[in-house]
């Protein structure tokens, strides 16, 4: 049996999305800037997609800017906003558990002379609001806190965070890649100024992403050219990709409620089944404040990469926060921020469920994992005798 449970890493593109995109490769190939029918058709397709994205997050059409990926959106948000509004202040705050793209952009901001501070989380991965409140001051120009974490799935109190940021007239960005499509996000209700999201996380094509930029805000663009996307992101539009992301957003809006309910049920069964059948296994993250598709479980005395390779042999695909999978050879900064010691962070497994998963697969994983874990534990010098 196959059980792909790494939807956070990559999702298959929805069939309806591919169908929606197809005409825009070689039939409606016009440039949206051209002043004739085939150009107008492409232009209208981009407008429609913008509207589909706006509806998904409660924005208005003109507030959506298409980029090439969520990483680019994060770059525009962090580098572009700090550059444009640097007179407001020097302080930038991000959380300790941001996605690696935000972490590395923040390092660049430090190099540029900004005072970057890292807001801590508690041992369940929720932002420590008291400490956060102490960090935000009137010299703060930008705060970037992710809506949901990609590894441990924890959901942050975005509305509450936005209030604190705005009390100091700072700008609030959220990387919502792991949240959009999993939980309802409304930028107006949550008072978000900028929000990054990706296409593939909605079962759309890769190579396209978007950023919501609240009316009235402008970032200093890093892609300068013909002035597309309101001058915020120049370059001829990736029309098929944009149409695909729009369609994916439309489908997400229609199906999210039921799909999230279904995934939550599968996820809860998966976590419960694994925690019950495998000794010395623990849940990472918050028990309830987490996106419905995420389960992050750590198994003591073994290492994540070996676990992933073993699971691949029996058709199960998941991810890990182990150092051995990282280019840096450091275990996940997210797990470390929870206060987990290195040796415990190594044995963590991340499941992100999606459309292709069903009860049968979940039962298969629950039935097969104990043997896999046992085999690696039997080989490990760290395993206590009673577990062998």
């Amino acid at each position: 049996m196959k059980a792909y449970m790494d939807y956070g890493a990559a999702k298959p593109v929805d069939k309806a999305v591919i169908d929606a995109m197809t005409p825009y490769f070689s039939k409606v190939y016009g440039n949206p800037a051209s002043f004739y029918t085939i150009g107008f058709d492409a232009y209208n397709a981009v407008i429609k997609a913008r509207d589909q994205l706006a509806k998904l997050i409660g924005a208005i059409q003109g507030e959506i800017i298409f980029t090439s990926c969520a990483t680019e959106s994060n770059n525009l948000a962090l580098l572009g906003i700090t550059q444009r509004y640097k007179k407001k202040g020097k302080r930038v705050i991000i959380s300790e558990i941001e996605h690696i793209s935000i972490i590395n952009i923040a390092k660049e901001l430090t190099r540029q002379g900004f005072e970057v501070l890292y807001a801590p989380v508690d041992n369940e991965g929720i932002l420590d609001m008291e400490k956060f409140r102490e960090l935000v001051n009137d010299d703060t120009v930008l705060v970037s806190i992710m809506a949901a974490n990609n590894e441990i799935g924890t959901i942050q109190p975005i509305k509450e965070i936005a209030k604190i940021v705005h009390d100091h007239n700072a700008i609030f960005h959220t990387d919502a890649v792991a949240a959009v499509g999993q939980i309802p996000i409304n930028v107006k209700e949550m008072d978000i100024d900028l929000l990054s999201f990706s296409s593939n996380d909605l079962y759309g094509p890769r190579g396209v992403g978007a950023i919501y930029l609240k009316s009235g805000l402008r970032a200093k663009p890093h892609m300068i050219g013909g002035g597309q996307e309101g001058g915020q992101r120049s370059g001829s539009e990736n029309v098929p990709g944009i149409v695909g992301m729009g369609k994916a957003a439309e489908i997400t809006l229609e199906t999210m409620k039921d799909e999230s309910k279904r995934l939550k049920k599968l996820r809860d069964r998966l976590s419960k089944g694994l925690l019950e059948s495998i000794q010395e296994s623990f849940m990472n993250g918050h028990p309830t404040k987490r996106v419905p598709n995420n389960a992050n479980i750590r198994f003591s005395f073994i290492e994540g990469e070996a676990l992933i390779l073993s699971l691949d042999q029996i058709g199960i695909n998941a991810s890990s926060g182990s150092a051995c999978l990282a280019k840096t050879l450091e275990p996940s900064h997210v797990l470390r921020a929870l206060g987990l010691a290195h040796e415990y962070a190594h044995g963590s497994l991340v499941f992100t469920l999606g459309k292709g998963n069903n009860e049968e697969q979940v039962e298969y994983v629950i039935d097969s994992m104990p043997d896999v874990v046992h085999k690696l534990r039997a080989m490990s010098p760290l395993t206590p005798k009673e577990l062998k």
Binding site: E303, A306, A323, C324, L325, L329, H342
Partner: protein, 123 residues
């Protein structure tokens, strides 16, 4: 990213286990960096009669320890001391560069185990 030989040794590791009252024992690595291996030796007439290992770590850590034990089994101690990290990697048709230093430690554990045996013998 791994060669077929690495995957074979990972899937079917040779000589896993412990030897009770080993003639020599050597450990390297630590759980903090994610790799730790122990090698146990049974020696007869200065030859490695039996060798077993335990490894905590990634696929490369397990495969290199397995390969090290396979290369060492039946060898004289002098021959076994010539087994190096590079020779283990070569026997596995190579390792990803990032794994060369962090996970390819088993040859050191083997050398430690031999030295442990030689030290015990002198006592």
């Amino acid at each position: 990213m791994y060669s077929d030989k690495v995957l074979d040794h990972f899937k079917n590791p040779r000589n896993v286990g412990e030897i009770e009252n080993p003639d020599g024992e050597g450990s390297v690595g630590n759980p903090v960096c994610g790799d730790m291996m122990t090698i146990y030796l049974k020696i007869k007439d200065d030859r490695i009669e039996d060798i077993k290992f335990k490894t905590f770590g990634c696929g490369a850590a397990i495969a290199t320890t397995s390969m090290t034990t396979e290369l060492a089994k039946g060898k004289t101690l002098d021959e076994a001391l010539e087994i190096t990290r590079d020779k283990v990697a070569e026997a596995l048709d190579g390792l990803p560069p990032v794994k060369m230093h962090c996970s390819n430690l088993a040859a050191d554990a083997l050398h430690d185990a031999i030295k442990d045996y030689q030290k015990k013998k002198r006592e």
